[in-house]
Symmetry: C3
C-alpha cells in the first residue's frame, strides 16, 4: 500500500557503474538500472522480451543494455537496438521508468510515466553545498515502509532501542509537538539543561566544545510523502538559545532517511547524515557513518519482529498516543495520496 506515482530514491550513483546494470525491486517493480553512453541513468523493466531473462544479469555495451543470455541489446528508452542475425525492428520495446540522478541519489518513478515531473523531486538544500558534508548507507529491512516512518516520527524509541548511544530518559519526559504543515508532517521535541548522551558528547568534542556540560537538545522530524523523513538534530551548550544558538556553541546535523518500498513488506532504507561543520573532513564523515550504521542497525530486529507480529495478529488495533501523532498524520497523508491514485 504505497503510492506508485511518486519519486523514490532507488540507489546511490556508485551502485550503478558504467559497465554493469543494477537489478533492484522498487514498489514491487523489478527494474534494471544502467548508464547510457552519456552516463545518464536509465531504468528498464528487468525482463528481456526475448526469453524472459533478467536484464540485470547482462552487461552494458556502448551505452546499451545487452541481455546476458542471448545478446539482445536495448537502448536507454527500452527500444531494441541490436541482436546478431535478427530483424529487431519487429521487437517490442521494454517498459521504461522515469529516472533522474540528482542530489547524490538516483530517483525513480515506479508508476505512470506520463505523470512524472522532475520538478517534484524534493529539494535537498545541503546536497552538493560546499558548507555541508554527507555520509550514508543502505539497509534492507523486512517490514512495511510505514513502520519505518512510525519509527522515525517517534524518537522516544531512542531511549529504549538506542540506550547506549543517543537514548536518554529526558527524551521520554519532553512531550513532542506535532503538526501538519501543507504536505508535510512535523513533530518536534526540545529538551533543556540535560546531560549530553554519548553520541553528542563525541560530536561536541569534534567541535572543540566541552562534553561534560549541560546542553539543550532538539529533534525536529519532518515527513514528506511518499516516505522521506529529515530530522534536524543537535545540542547546544545550555542556555545559549538551543536550536537557535550560534554555530560556535552547538553541534547539529540532519538525519536523512529515504524509505523506499521494495514490496508490501520490505524496504530499501537509505539513511545518512548531513552536517554543516568540517565538511572537508572525510575521516569524520566515515566515523559518523560507522557510528550511525551501528545505531540504525539496532532498529532492524525490532522492526522485522514487529512486522511479523502484526502479520500474525492482523485484526489487532494499535494505540495512538501523543508520541504516535507524527506517524498517524503521515499515514493520513499517505491514505489521501493512495485514494487519489486509485
Amino acid at each position: 500500500m504505497f503510492p506508485k506515482n511518486a519519486w523514490y530514491v532507488a540507489a546511490t550513483p556508485d551502485e550503478i557503474p558504467a559497465d554493469k546494470p543494477l537489478g533492484r525491486r522498487i514498489c514491487s517493480e523489478a527494474i534494471a538500472f544502467f548508464r547510457g553512453a552519456d552516463g545518464m541513468v536509465s531504468a528498464l523493466e528487468d525482463f528481456c522480451p526475448h526469453r524472459g531473462a533478467p536484464l540485470s544479469l547482462g552487461r552494458v555495451v556502448d551505452g546499451t543494455l545487452q541481455c546476458g543470455y542471448h545478446g539482445l541489446r536495448l537502448g536507454t528508452e527500452g527500444q531494441p537496438v541490436a541482436m546478431p542475425g535478427q530483424r529487431i525492428s519487429v521487437f517490442p520495446a521494454v517498459r521504461r521508468y522515469p529516472v533522474v540522478e540528482r542530489h547524490g541519489f538516483v530517483w525513480v518513478w515506479p508508476g505512470d510515466a506520463v505523470q512524472a515531473d522532475e520538478a517534484a523531486i524534493p529539494p535537498l538544500d545541503w546536497a552538493g553545498h560546499p558548507e555541508w558534508a554527507y555520509g550514508g548507507g543502505l539497509y534492507h529491512v523486512r517490514c512495511d515502509y510505514r513502520l519505518m516512518i512510525d519509527n522515525l516520527m517517534d524518537l522516544t524509541h531512542e531511549t529504549y532501542v538506542h540506550a547506549n548511544s543517543i537514548g536518554q530518559k529526558e527524551i521520554d519526559e519532553a512531550p513532542p509537538q506535532t503538526r501538519a504543515e501543507g504536505d508535510a508532517v512535523i513533530t518536534e521535541r526540545r529538551m533543556f539543561d540535560i546531560p549530553a548522551p554519548p553520541f553528542w558528547q563525541m560530536a561536541l568534542r569534534g567541535m572543540g566544545l566541552p562534553d561534560d556540560r549541560p546542553v539543550d537538545r532538539w529533534q525536529i522530524c519532518r515527513f514528506t510523502p511518499p516516505s522521506q523523513v529529515m530530522i534536524e538534530v543537535g545540542v547546544a551548550l545550555a542556555g545559549q538559545g538551543g536550536h537557535e544558538a550560534p554555530s560556535a556553541v552547538k553541534a547539529s546535523s540532519i538525519v536523512v532517511d529515504f524509505i523506499t518500498p521494495e514490496t508490501d513488506n520490505s524496504i530499501w532504507y537509505f539513511w545518512g547524515m548531513a552536517r554543516r561543520f568540517k565538511p572537508d573532513d572525510a575521516a569524520l564523515t566515515d566515523s559518523i557513518r560507522e557510528g550511525q550504521r551501528k545505531i540504525f542497525a539496532e532498529d532492524l530486529e525490532m522492526l522485522e519482529r514487529q512486522q511479523r507480529n502484526l502479520e500474525a495478529w492482523p485484526e489487532r488495533r494499535l494505540m495512538k498516543l501523543n508520541i504516535d501523532a507524527g506517524g498517524t498524520l503521515a499515514r493520513r497523508l499517505l491514505d489521501r495520496l493512495l485514494a487519489a491514485e486509485n
Copy 2:
C-alpha cells in the same frame, strides 16, 4: 490438534534469568516469560498493545516487563504499570497465561485461564528428591507432537535408529504388553537373559557391576496427557528378578520426556534422565546427559522426514500393529480430550 487446557512444560528455570524475558511459542501462543520482583515466573502474550512489538525483545525492570521499543512497562498480571508521559490507566491489559515453576520446570497453561488448576500439574516423585539426580536438555523438532509420542511408546525403533547405543535385536523379539490404566497408557517390554547393549554396559560399569554377563532388561513406558512420557528402563544381572531385582545388582533410571507443541507441526522436546544412584556425582550427570543427547539426536531426522512424508501423502492410512498400540491408545485419549475441549 493439541489440548490447550492443560499444563505444558514451557522452559527450564535457567532459561528465564532475572533481567531478561524469554520469548517462546507454546501451542501456537506467542508468549513472553519473565520474572517478577519476587522471582516468580509470569507469562504474557508476546505483543505490546502500544505498537505490536514483541515484549520478549524487552527488558525486566524492577520486576516489570518493559517493552524494548517505546518503554511501556507491564506488571506480572499483564497490567500496564508505567510509561513516561502517558496516562496508562486507560491502557488495555495484556493477556496473561497461568504459569507455575515446579519440579525443576516452568509449566504453562495455554488455554482458558479460568480452568487452570495447579493441582493438575503432574507429581514427579524423583524431582528434588535427595536420592535422585536429574539431567536433561531441549530439542526443537519439526514434527507433530503425536509423532514423538508414537516414537516413545514404541521402543522397537531403538533397534534401528539407535543400533549403536541402546538398540539390540532382542527388543524386536519381545512383544510389548500395552494397557490403558485410568488416564494413562502403559506399554512395557521385558527381556530375559540377553547381552547388555553399550549404553547399559556403561551403566553397569558405573555401578561397579560386570558388563559382560547376561542381563534381564525392561522398558516400561507411561504416557499421560497431554504429552508426557516417562519410561522406566534398566537392566539387572540375569535371574535376580529383573525389574524387581535388588538395587545392588541392577542399573536403572527413568527417561523423562515432555513434548510441548510449538505449532501443529513443531515441538519443544524436553528430554532427560532421572537416576536413583550416585545422585551427587555431577560428572556422571553430565556424561549421561551427553550420551542421551547424542542418542536422542538420532531420532530427529527420522521424525522430521516422517512429518514431511505424512504431509505429502495426507490421505494415506498408516498401519497399527501390536507395537503401535501404545501410540494408538495415547491418541485415543487425546482425541477424547480434544472432543471435550471443543
Copy 3:
C-alpha cells in the same frame, strides 16, 4: 508438465552403493533406489507403509530394503519380506517403479509401469565402447526442465554466458538450421575459417594440433524426448572438410545432457562429455570434466533467475526467433506426448 511414461536418467550407478539406498524425487515421485542381492537396482516409493517413514533413510540388508525406523524389510518388488514379531503376509506392498541400469546410468520410468518397455531406453553408441571415454557430473537446478532444453537447443547463448571459454561472436553470425526428424529435433550450426575459442584451443593442443590456426567449427544438437540432448561439437583445421574432416586434423566430442525433472520447477541435470580420442587417458577425462563443470555452472544462475522471472510474469508471451526453433519444436513434441498421455 512432463511426460511420466518415459525413461529418465535417475542416477549414476556409483550413487547407489550395495549397503545404502538413495532417495531422489523424479517427476514429482519420491523414490528410494537400492540394490538387491544380485546387485540389480530396484526403485520403490519412498514411504514405509507401516508409519510413513522415508525408506531412503534405511539400510540394505541381504538385498532387502530395511526401514530405518521399525525395521520392516521390503524386497526388490516392493513386497514385505520380514518384520520381527509381525505376520507380514497381510502387509500391503510398496509401489515399485520400473528401473534399469544401462549405458552407465540408472534409468527409471515414473509413470504407468505396465507401459514400461526396456527397448525404449535410447541407445548410446559411445557408452562402454573401447574407443570412447566418458566423464560427467550432476547439477540440481531450480528451473522447469524445458528451460534447460531451450538452453541446449540454442547455443547462441555461448557467446554471452560462456564468453571466456566456448563463446565467440562467430556463433551469432552463423544462422542455425533446424529440422524435425521423426521423433527427434535437430538444430545445427557450422562456422568456417574462424579462430578457435579457448576450450577448443586446449582440445587442439591435446590432440597435438596447432591452436593458433583458423578452424571450421560445428555444433549439431539432437533432442529426443522426453528430455535428452546430445550435441556433436568440434573443430577441424580450416578447409579440411569441417565435421567430415579426417580424425587427424580435428578435435571433437559429444556433449551429453540428460535433463530429469525433479518437480515442475526443478531438475536433476546430468551432464557430461563423450570423446573418441585418448579414451584411456583418465587425467584428460578429469580435466575435461572440471572444465565442463565450470562452464555449465555459468548457466545455472541465468536459468534459475529466468525461471523466477517467468513465474512472476506468467502471462507474458516470449519471442520465438529462428534461434529458438530447436526449443520450440522440442516443446511441440513434448506437447504431443503429454496430450497422448492425458
